[in-house]
């Protein structure tokens, strides 16, 4: 599950990571070390926080949940706040990676959105360990003109576009990317087959694998971040990816004025809803500062600023009055109630199922 992996941010991450490794020479200075997804915050939010509290923010970025998890499980990551996605968070909580939040230090928790809290409780019962940062969906991004050229009535609002061989084959020459993330794609295949997207039954998973193998010849690449550039440059027709990333491709194409029109749809059959959750590692050195940071991020106007910048919905109900109208009214970012009902939440796989899923995925991707 790689996301928004771009060279610039990767290099930036290296520099920041190096900075993070420098031992705290000035212990008197208060600081907080935050580890978040790349291109996922308005930098002003961080400078404002430092201005207000005097706490220095050392901000480091990653582009895959797997890398975060490996660092956390190795121990001594040095971070005070990390932002993993739901199923990863759940597993990490069970491994004892995180500490419980001290809710008495987080008065702004009152601003959170009960609907989102209810769904994130699946990963973090009682939301004792984490706070939602942003959430989104995994759907279909497409190049409007290139799709129309090849099929005037293409079902862009349905998974048929990907899973019906006679439809998907029409776009083969134009380029189709899928996320290289079995945890995202296999549940979609299960859903399309009318099975439980959370099924852990090996027979069901096998069926999902077979469905994917059937359409495999039409897929140009499995990758979790390249589709942003590829869509924005008009190199490909279709990408199954994360909502915010596809909207980012749309923004980039508009900025580049290259005539590429990128669309995003949550298919009518349903889609996965995912949550990136802020949590404090058990071995964090700046626990008090981390709580201050979280409480700051829970301020409606602050988190709204972040949402306005990254085009993702957040889990803060009170912030909606500060969110730009075109974002708040965009149903691909804030789905309407009808769509919300069709979104499903994926629970974490146990080690055995994870291995089976990864194995099926490798078979799909490499033909081995």
């Amino acid at each position: 599950m790689l996301r928004v992996g771009r060279l610039g941010s990767a290099l930036g991450a290296c520099i920041l990571a190096a900075a993070a490794l420098v031992p705290a020479a000035m212990a008197a200075d208060r600081e907080v070390r935050v580890y978040n997804w790349s291109d996922y915050i308005d930098p002003e939010v961080l400078t404002d926080f430092t201005k207000e509290t005097g706490i220095k923010v050392i901000y480091d970025v990653f582009d895959s949940n797997e890398v975060v998890e490996t660092k956390l499980l190795a121990g001594g990551s040095g971070y005070d706040i990390v932002v993993p996605t739901g199923p990863f968070l759940a597993r990490q909580i069970s491994a004892g990676v995180f500490q419980k939040l001290d809710k008495s230090k987080l008065p702004n928790l009152k601003n959170t959105w009960p609907l989102i809290n209810e769904r994130t409780a699946l990963y973090d019962p009682g939301n004792d360990y984490s706070i939602n940062y942003m959430w989104g969906t995994t759907g279909i991004g497409y190049n409007e003109d290139k799709i129309k050229e090849r099929m005037a009535d293409a079902p862009v609002n349905s998974w048929d576009l990907i899973f019906k061989p006679e439809i998907v084959s029409k776009f083969k020459d134009c380029g189709i990317f899928l996320l290289d993330a079995p945890d995202d794609i296999i549940p979609i295949a299960l859903l399309y087959l009318g099975l439980n997207p959370n099924s852990k039954d090996p027979a069901d998973l096998e069926k999902a694998g077979e469905l994917l193998q059937k359409i495999r010849p039409n897929i140009q690449k499995f990758h979790s971040s390249e589709f942003i550039n590829a869509l924005a440059n008009g190199d490909i027709c279709i990408a199954v990816g994360y909502s915010g990333d596809i909207l980012q491709a749309r923004t980039r194409a508009t900025e580049a004025k290259n005539g590429v029109k990128v669309g995003y749809k949550i298919p009518k059959e349903g889609a996965q809803m995912w949550f990136d959750q802020m949590a404090i590692p058990a071995d964090a050195k700046h626990v008090a500062e981390a709580h201050e940071f979280l409480n700051y991020m829970l301020k409606p106007e602050v988190i709204a600023k972040a949402s306005n910048y990254v085009n993702y919905a957040n889990g803060n109900l009170a912030s909606q009055q500060f969110i730009n109208k075109e974002i708040l009214e965009d149903t691909s970012i804030f789905p309407d109630d009808e769509t919300l009902k069709r979104l499903f939440v994926k629970d974490p796989y146990d080690a055995k199922t994870q291995r089976a899923v990864t194995r099926i995925w490798t078979k799909v991707v490499t033909g081995q």
Partner: protein
Amino acid sequence: MRRWYLISIPYIWLVVFFLVPFLIVLKISFSQTAMAIPPYIPVLDLSRGIDGLKDFFSHLSFDNYRFIFSDSLYINAYISSVKIAAIATFLTLLVAYPVAYGMARAPKEWQPTLVMLVILPFWTSFLIRVYAWIGILKKEGLLNLLLMNLGLISEPLTIMNTTTAVYIGIVYSYLPFMILPLYASLEKINPSLLEAAADLGSPPIRSFWQVTFPLSLPGIIAGCFLVFIPAVGEFVIPDLLGGSETLMIGKTLWTEFFSNRDWPVSSAVAVILLLVLVIPIVLFQRSQQTQREAGA
């Protein structure tokens, strides 16, 4: 005594940066995966003394190795990596030999500049250079644009995201590692040997195969090893340029380590990779050495 110090430095280096990490990997490869910090058991607990040690050894098992051999995926990944690396090494040799030959034959005063030019690409990050190939090879990339404008092709070629792109990436990235040892051995060849061959009536092509080529063999072997060994475990190039069907052990390791979070199995994959790669190479070099000594 001073000599002993000097000799010991490379050994200490090897022990600290190769042997110790390898032993740690070996130890993990006999463990079992667990959801904990660190994500495997058993963990060596020396504070419990001998009991801790006993406990540790009694929990080790060969299960991970058995598992790797029971699933054809790993064997296929090894074979396909070795195949891709071997073909890429051969292609690199084909490109590098004329370059090195030209450098060795160039006027003496040019040679340092030419060597500099070979090393020059290293001044730019490897990652950026591989990224640049995406711009060249993609469908609307520079290469297709050039070929279409020249009228050589009417449809853009699909090179990006295929194994061909991986070959191009490896040949490009590792070319200096092949050129430099080749140049070093070609440059040492005494030109009077070729003059002697010509005087005895040998045509240039025959002189090349009978004089130059055998004398450059040590350079060829060194260059091939320098390219082949890292290419087998290459991850960045197949990840960025390759298609999804490009199966290489580096990617398999990544999946095992990050997606399955199975440190023990990924350690076992790495240990086997080392065994299949290093042991034949060491044996080969031994035999080469004995041959050379016998010849001398």
